[in-house]
Symmetry: C2
Subunit: 218 residues, 2 copies
């Protein structure tokens, strides 16, 4: 007797996320879902990355509850950008991202960075169709975040510890932070970065270029 | 003809929140729901407030996705404390608070501070039974938060701008922050506080005592 096997049925979000990803693969666009608390410096990191890699064509989707403050900064720097306002929603989802794609010249974008809503909990649960998830911790926020918010750090593909220029002013134990991350995810790349001073941007940029090369040869 | 009027039916959360509040009123316990981003310094503020007001009997409910890091600090300082781990949930709700109350000596607590999960969006939507909501912004997080996360600031009864000792190190415009808050909520008290240096703790403490006096004479 043949036992019937029911495949995992994708929910509506995952279905649209898969469609988004197929679209990104067609245009060879590497897509990164950047997640962090409010004020972690996500937009500053995007700006610093673009400055460091002027030949890489970066596009941006900005997720915020309200305002176009971040998108205005990105547009001023000359990058193609779409702002998504969730109007109270605590995370982006795949349909929101899909609706933004028609406004972006994907054929001319090497790396699309999706800056998620500032929130260290909810965004982790929603596949947007991105290839990679990058999570930012930051010095003023404290070294205990991987212990208190494990879900976000567990599912990341890389961690950036941001605002490291502020280390002299805060009681932050980098090794305690690192141990918290590695407990959840032993081999994850961890970059110590300051977008203000440029520290660590080269290493992070090299990792990003490498991931982009992998996508093109896949 | 008499037109039938249907009262607003309370949902399960609001029902239990009302029960919590009745219980707090019975014991003359002023209850504050403290909300902010991860790493805003909520626990440090509670510690500094307790040090400044040694005669006020403060109890604490600590909300976190995971860990007892904050509750350990509070317990070490000698305050009665209960830790609630949401296990992934992005905010506390009234039933969680209710379940913590049996573990607290409410008769001997003048002010109960509920430290919500670090999240500048979701906690605003859930009445816990607290009398007042206090929202923390902070200097490293940036001056644009009232514009980007209006829901949280709109419903607050007081705002604390925290970590003001860090003003020399960050590009933060206090008047822009203040204008953003006042646009949502014109007369709201705004306290500039550093729990590290003690700046502003006296003014915030005086406001807290005044609210407690109001409760007792209500």
């Amino acid at each position: 007797m043949k036992i019937p096997v029911v495949q995992k049925i994708m929910n509506a979000n995952d279905q649209i996320a898969a469609e988004n990803r197929a679209r990104f693969d067609e245009t060879n666009t590497l897509v990164i879902n950047v997640m962090a608390s409010p004020g972690a410096g996500k937009t500053s990191l995007i700006m610093a990355t673009a400055s460091h890699l002027p030949d890489l064509r970066i596009g941006v989707i900005e997720g915020d509850v309200a305002s176009t403050i971040d998108a205005d900064r990105i547009a001023e720097a000359g990058m193609p950008v779409v702002q998504i306002n969730t109007g109270g929603g605590c995370h982006l989802d795949a349909p929101m991202v899909k609706s933004a794609l028609d406004e972006l010249p994907l054929d001319d974008i090497d790396v699309l960075i999706i800056e998620n809503v500032g929130n260290l909990i909810c965004p982790a649960g929603f596949d947007l169709g991105a290839h990679l998830a990058v999570v930012l911790g930051n010095i003023p926020e404290g070294d205990d975040k991987p212990y208190k918010y494990p879900g976000m750090f567990t599912d990341a593909d890389a961690i950036i510890l941001h605002k490291v220029d502020m280390l002299p002013h805060f009681d932050f134990d980098v090794e305690y932070f690192r141990a918290g991350v590695q407990k959840l995810h032993p081999d994850i790349p961890l970059f110590l970065v300051s977008s203000r001073t440029g520290e660590g941007i080269a290493e992070w940029g090299e990792w990003l270029l490498e991931r982009r090369r992998e996508l093109r040869t896949a």
